[in-house]
């Protein structure tokens, strides 16, 4: 009986450390949906699609940068997650295709868009969203090996007309 208990204890400790690391430091996730193509590619099931390395550090003090690819909780469907690119932060004045007026991002909010503009549902549909929804930054694709590499932080040019207090790097 002794060894089973020891195994259970070791498994529980391992799981606990794993959860803590995954919550606070780094974790892996499988891409779903086509809203970030061609940057990130999903498969038809949970067994296919890019495997992403997520950095949880920016989620602690919300030190995300414009251009980062971020993972966030969906504002309208809280049980789902979204992967989008952070385009603008609070205070920024933003040009939105299809709209004549500029949009100013209110305090505490941000503007996110999917790279695949044709299919992505994002801030262009639902407006600025609270930055507190952002939980992680996608740093790399780790699988499949042909697509292994860094996910670059790229800010599309010409979108931000004036910025808030945070300078553009």
């Amino acid at each position: 009986m002794g060894w089973a208990l020891l195994l259970a204890k070791r498994a529980a400790i391992g799981a606990m450390i794993g959860i803590a690391v995954s919550d606070e430091l780094v974790s892996l996730a499988r891409m779903q949906g086509s809203s970030m193509e061609p940057t990130l590619v999903a498969g038809k099931s949970l067994m296919e699609g890019d495997v992403l390395l997520l950095d949880k550090f920016p989620g602690h003090d919300f030190g995300f940068s414009r251009g980062d690819v971020v993972v966030l909780r969906s504002p309208h469907e809280p049980q789902y997650w979204m992967v989008k690119r952070l385009i603008a932060v609070e205070g920024d004045m933003l040009r939105v295709p299809g709209k004549r007026e500029l949009v100013q991002v209110p305090k505490g909010r941000c503007w996110v868009e999917g790279d695949n503009a044709n299919v992505s549902l994002d801030s262009r549909n639902m407006g600025p969203i609270p930055m507190a929804l952002l939980k992680a930054r996608v740093t790399r694709v780790v699988w499949p090996l042909e697509r292994f590499g860094r996910v670059e932080s790229i800010l599309p040019t010409g979108r931000i007309v004036a910025h808030g207090e945070r300078p553009i790097r």
Partner: protein
């Protein structure tokens, strides 16, 4: 001799790491102890800071009800956690009294809730920042452990001050 000391240190280090991980996982996923400071939840909670126990499960399971007191990340400042009462769930229509008399009706969109402090006059809440995505809710406040005369469950209606 040196090897024994190193393995002692490693043993203690491992114990500390396990402790920190346990506290992190427990407070993020089970129970958290937090303080609610400020006038926005008077008379239910005091200005100078009541100490509350928040449970994480109800939010994770989507079992939040109107009247629950919750901790949530503020939509206007991601670094701030606010303590408010849920006055409406998705699909509900809230009637907001405006300062100049009269009122407006707000329908709460899918996935959102209406947060309001018990202190009608001194609370910044959904009346200012609109319905809040329920993904911002951290947990349900269910017990108060300070001040001592306020020990007890936190109910779904505003209570008298202690």
């Amino acid at each position: 001799m040196l090897w024994k000391s190193l393995s002692d240190v490693a043993g203690r280090g491992a114990a500390i790491v396990q402790c920190v991980c346990f506290m992190d996982v427990f407070s993020n996923h089970v129970l958290q102890i937090q303080q609610c400071i400020g006038p926005s939840m008077l008379p239910t909670f005091n200005i100078r800071g009541d100490i509350l126990v928040t449970e994480r499960l109800s939010v994770k399971l989507g079992k939040i009800r109107v009247g629950d007191v919750v901790m949530a990340r503020s939509p206007s400042d991601p670094r701030m956690v606010v303590c408010k009462r849920i006055l409406g769930l998705e699909g509900d229509t809230i009637t907001v009294a405006s300062d100049k008399g009269g009122s407006t009706k707000v329908k709460i969109p899918k996935g959102h809730v209406w947060l309001q402090g018990d202190n009608f006059h001194k609370s910044r809440d959904s009346r200012e920042y609109g319905p809040v995505p329920s993904a911002l809710l951290q947990g349900r406040v269910f017990y108060r452990i300070w001040p001592p005369q306020g020990w007890g469950f936190v109910g779904r209606i505003p209570s008298q001050s202690v």
